[in-house]
Symmetry: C2
């Protein structure tokens, strides 16, 4: 509950999408380089388009849409997912405020996945051609773009390890700790949180059925490692969760 209040405060101050600017944004250390100087921040700020909020279930873009922009999440939460030829879906990531998405599709000029808001969310749209031009002029910005993409690749590789080697408990624990760390980075509680996604989305992302997700959360609750009430989660034993992360198969 506490975290809900905090996060709606946080979004309140970024929701004013007429006046908002990067230099005022409390997320700027996350999506832009910390070391970037104020003049350069303003140059980036000028190309960014702040649109009205997305509602839960709204698509930001879909597979095959022309690639024009990347996006920074300002408030809410976003999931990205693939749909293959047979309609099989794979959730490929969850994105929280301060995180940047949309790097798929630079290669082919059309987006390679679907992107959807899990709750009311707002994003900053960054037209990619203009960002490229600016990156030619601002070396730290070019470097920052490489960094963001590099981190995405590293985290995708960690996910491959999770999917390939861990059992159900390890996968759930890994996701919970990842969310916890990402909330903490924004000075929100590392322990109490409201999950932005359904059991279905968690299971899909982690390669598990919703029944297994549900059973695993119940077991962790019974063992007092976490406490679960619907989407409200409290992490009660980080050490134990860490151990579970390294559990195999």
């Amino acid at each position: 509950m506490a975290s809900t209040i905090l996060s709606s405060n946080a979004s309140a101050c970024t929701h004013g999408f007429i006046k908002a600017s990067c230099s005022d944004c409390n997320l700027k250390g996350l999506c832009l380089p910390i070391a970037m100087d104020i003049g350069d921040i303003d140059r980036v700020d000028k190309i960014i388009q702040r649109s009205r909020p997305l509602h839960a279930g709204d698509h930001l873009y879909r597979t095959g849409d022309v690639f024009r922009s990347i996006y920074a999440v300002r408030s809410g939460s976003i999931k990205t997912y693939l749909v293959d030829e047979d309609g099989i879906e794979q959730v490929t990531g969850f994105f929280l405020p301060g995180e940047v998405l949309g790097f798929d599709g630079i290669g082919t000029h059309s987006h390679g996945c679907n992107v959807l808001a899990l709750e009311t969310s707002s994003v900053c749209e960054i037209p990619f051609e203009r960002l490229e031009e600016l990156s030619l002029q601002i070396p730290t910005l070019q470097h920052h773009m490489f960094q963001l993409m590099s981190k995405q690749i590293e985290s995708d590789h960690q996910m491959m390890l999770t999917l390939s080697k861990k059992n159900a408990e390890g996968r759930i624990a890994t996701l919970l700790l990842s969310l916890s760390r990402r909330y903490a980075r924004r000075n929100l509680s590392a322990n109490a949180m409201r999950l932005p996604m359904s059991r279905m989305d968690m299971g899909n992302f982690l390669g598990l059925t919703i029944e297994t997700v549900s059973r695993t959360l119940s077991r962790l609750h019974k063992e007092e490692v976490i406490s679960v009430d619907g989407r409200e989660i409290v992490l009660k034993n980080h050490e134990r969760l860490d151990e579970l992360c390294h559990q195999l198969q």
Copy 2:
């Protein structure tokens, strides 16, 4: 067998690591942008370091090494893998001639994975700081870098789908078709190939045990979808492999 000869010919003409240059290299359309003009290719060529070949089992770099360069494979084959705190390994990719690796570690300034030659291989080392400088001057080069990283991200996401949703046959079929397409791009046979990796590496990459890999290959052989003789593989029924790729769980 035929493919072995072809590929050793291909490496013969790139192995001359004293005179080799990007403009002579028959892989240049793969690792450098096709549209790049000759003068710019020469500027890239000047910063590239061509070192002596790696032998099977040699590491190109290891987790924690200072990040200085990215690498283009000229001949042979390379695997990248993570090792987590408990020593669990996860193979995160195989790289063939013309493919570029090493994008991990831009963010943290130290490499996030281990990289090892599966057979005698040679690589072009591209010092990253100088590449960044050049990218500021050559817009197509900057764009190409973004494209390469974007494609890496997209293929990692496909891998997440494979690991999360497909059964053993689907995973094997997906890997075989991926290798086949990548050989074909270099004008090698799309059907007959020699696998560069052991069953162990295949299994590790695909989240399967070597026993399951072996059994699955044997079954596909018996059903005449492929023919297997150790590491020599012939794809005999691409359509059936395609079907298997979409098989679930």
